[in-house]
């Protein structure tokens, strides 16, 4: 488990964890076929046929794309999501980072429903929200139905120029109950990182220690929309920018939630902003159904807290499991 601190979660869950741990040893072999299953649908995604296409076809496709773009003949949805641009350009830009740099390994992608809405709840880390982007690529490239993840982003993203434009075009929207519910009711896969800035801006010493999950608003949104919650654990993002300090005064002056100080940033200038090439694992857990609850359940705070804890513990335990399995941070 490297040197990450393990924090116990009280009595009852510990028993459950023990049961799960024994289950894990049994599942060690059960997990093995998953990469095989993943390589099955691999030829389906676009990049594979793109590589197989002749040069002529690719030029023709590129020109058709250019023609649509320069004449404005494409569509965006109410949130400003530009599907064509995301598929053809933004995803292609992120894919080298995803495949070659972080070498992301995806497990349990079948836990994301092939159709209908679902709320993916993931841990958040890494100083810069690269984990969200990698999660988006993972869902898009590995899911057999090529589903598009719609991420909920912090309001800071929509205040910053350029960032807000790209975020909207990539299908992200503001993390608020209204937007999340609208997307879920339309049957979209919504990704949320309830830890927010507390998770992404935590010091390196606290890595893989889940922070408070907001006020649990994501649970009531999922409940109202009646969609399953898919817990998701991301390992590897914590070490891309080891945040050893936080220049709080500077952050306040710049209006940022934190100003990271890493062994390389800001000392090496822009070179310090290059993330460390860690090896990532993204595991999607078993979906937690929410459609069995009555309509008024979303107003029951106890139920909300319980469900929030359940999701949080699932993610935390999966993180520990993945950390145990991990051979090294970089390989």
């Amino acid at each position: 488990m490297a040197d990450a601190k393990v924090i116990p979660f009280g009595e009852e869950p510990r028993a459950r964890r023990k049961a799960r741990r024994t289950g894990r040893t049994g599942r060690g072999t059960a997990l093995a076929p998953v990469p095989e299953a993943r390589s099955g649908p691999r030829p389906v995604p676009a990049p594979q046929p793109a590589g197989g296409r002749t040069l002529d076809e690719r030029i023709a496709g590129g020109l058709a794309f250019l023609r649509r773009r320069i004449t404005g003949d494409y569509e965006v949805d109410d949130f400003g999501y530009d599907r064509e641009l995301t598929d053809q350009v933004l995803m292609s830009l992120l894919r080298p980072l995803y495949e070659k740099y972080f070498r992301v390994e995806v497990k349990g992608v079948a836990n994301i429903p092939a159709e209908g809405g679902a709320l993916i709840v993931a841990n958040h880390s890494g100083t810069l929200p690269l984990d969200g982007l990698m999660l988006q690529v993972a869902v898009h490239d590995h899911h057999p139905a090529q589903r598009h993840l719609r991420l909920l982003a912090a309001d800071l993203v929509f205040v910053l120029p350029v960032m807000n434009e790209l975020a909207r075009k990539a299908g992200h929207t503001l993390a608020c109950a209204e937007d999340a519910q609208r997307l879920l009711e339309r049957g979209e896969i919504v990704g949320v990182m309830p830890e927010g800035f507390k998770g992404i801006g935590k010091p390196f010493a606290d890595r893989y220690k889940l922070q408070r999950f907001g006020r649990g608003g994501f649970v009531s949104t999922a409940l109202k929309a009646g969609v399953p919650i898919v817990p998701c654990s991301i390992v590897g993002a914590e070490e891309i920018y080891p945040m050893i300090g936080n220049a709080k005064t500077l952050a306040r002056v710049l209006g940022l939630p934190y100003f990271p100080v890493t062994p390389t940033f800001p000392w090496l200038g822009p070179l310090g902003a290059v993330p460390l090439p860690t090896k990532w694992t993204i595991q999607f857990g078993e979906p937690i159904p929410t459609d069995g609850y009555p309509a008024e359940a979303a107003d029951d705070p106890m139920l909300m807290f319980n469900l929030t804890d359940q999701v949080r513990e699932t993610i935390q335990h999966t993180l520990y499991k993945l950390l145990v399995q991990r051979r090294s941070v970089f390989f």
Binding site: L63, I70, D78, G80, N164, T173, E178
Partner: protein, 349 residues
């Protein structure tokens, strides 16, 4: 039943068109157009009364003519050519509405009041939800300009609705109205040869076609059809969304991205020189964009716009001359390029 309709703001294109349209309604017996200046366009058989709604004289008009439906369209962002600056527009918007509603309150014959409001009541801020519903509270209330006027106007309308519960009050919040004859500041903006935009922002815009605006005003001003309700507040917008970048490409006008402080500063200078009426809240709208939900419009009001946002814009763009980079010739260039490439010739045919 004798249906007497009073329409304010008929000197504007939209008001004039609305007056001409409702005369053809079989239920309407008499149409009275009111404005402070005489309209340049004809109003058909409608009577025109030159009256300023900012003055209490409007109460006498209501009492003498026995008006039962009031369509208040004199809520505008910019002055009508001769009518002076922003101060008088604000006065017409706010004081005019107060006077008109006060007059309506004193007129027992009034049964229906329709207000032409705007989606600017929601403001435009990065911290707002992506799509506004009728009851989304704005995160930051508009601080001034037309947007603040509409917020205040709607406040007075709510007060009126409380005091006269027997009157059906309908507030229509229109997205940007575009059409062949639209004379809005946004239409002026789209007429520029090069569109200045804010660097790093690509706002989402929604449009309503003029014809749809007239039609929905007519629905709101007449008896509700079966299964629909035409009192309350409704967002009115065409389906779908266009980005400003898309709009500029479809219009064939290049954009000139500028830093936000530059845009704000240039807007202030141009405004104080009297060259343009481009207000800060319009700059905000063209920075952060605004999208509203129209489920209520469809399901409760029972109105289905004939034009989507994209169709409205296409119609508008057709009425304007081609820009510096017409999309048709750009497309032709790409096609020619595709034809020139020798490799392309084989598989294409």
């Amino acid at each position: 039943m004798g249906n007497v309709v009073l329409v304010t703001g008929v000197a504007r294109q939209l008001g004039g068109r609305f007056v001409r349209r409702i005369q053809r309604d079989p239920d309407v017996d008499r149409v009275i157009g009111v404005d402070a200046v005489a309209p340049e366009h004809h109003l058909g058989d409608a009577e025109f009364l030159k009256a300023d709604i900012r003055h209490p004289a409007i109460a006498r008009v209501l009492a003498e003519t026995g008006v039962d439906t009031v369509v208040h369209m004199d809520i505008n962002g910019t002055p009508l050519h001769s009518r002076g600056g922003r101060a008088s527009v604000k006065e017409t918007n706010v004081i005019g509405t107060m006077q008109l509603l006060g007059a309506c309150q004193k007129a027992p014959a009034v049964q229906r009041v329709v207000i032409k409001s705007s989606t600017s009541v929601y403001g435009s801020a990065p911290r707002d939800p992506a799509v506004f519903t009728e009851n989304t509270p704005p995160k930051s209330l508009p601080s001034g300009g037309f947007a603040k006027d509409t917020v205040e106007v709607e406040g007075y309308v709510r007060g009126f609705a409380r005091r006269r519960p027997d009157v059906a009050v309908c507030v229509l919040r229109f997205a940007n109205i575009l059409g062949p004859s639209a004379d809005s500041p946004l239409a002026e903006y789209f007429a520029l040869p090069v569109l200045p935009t804010v660097l790093g922002y690509d706002p989402r815009l929604q449009f309503v076609h003029e014809d749809d605006a007239i039609e929905v005003l007519r629905i709101a001003a007449s008896e509700p059809r079966r299964g629909t309700l035409n009192s309350g507040t409704f967002n009115i917008a065409g389906d779908g969304v266009l980005l400003l970048s898309q709009v500029s490409r479809r219009l064939g006008r290049p954009t000139l991205p500028l830093f936000l402080p530059t845009v704000t500063w240039a807007g202030t200078v141009l405004r104080s020189l009297g060259i343009t009426d481009f207000s800060p809240e319009q700059i905000r709208m063209l920075t952060h964009g605004r999208v509203v939900e129209t489920t209520q419009m469809r399901e409760t009001l029972g109105f289905h716009p004939a034009y989507t946002t994209a169709e409205t814009f296409a119609e508008f763009a057709r009425g304007r001359g081609p820009g510096l980079l017409p999309p048709a010739s750009l497309a032709r260039t790409v096609d020619r390029l595709a034809g020139v490439l020798p490799a392309r010739r084989g598989p294409s045919q």
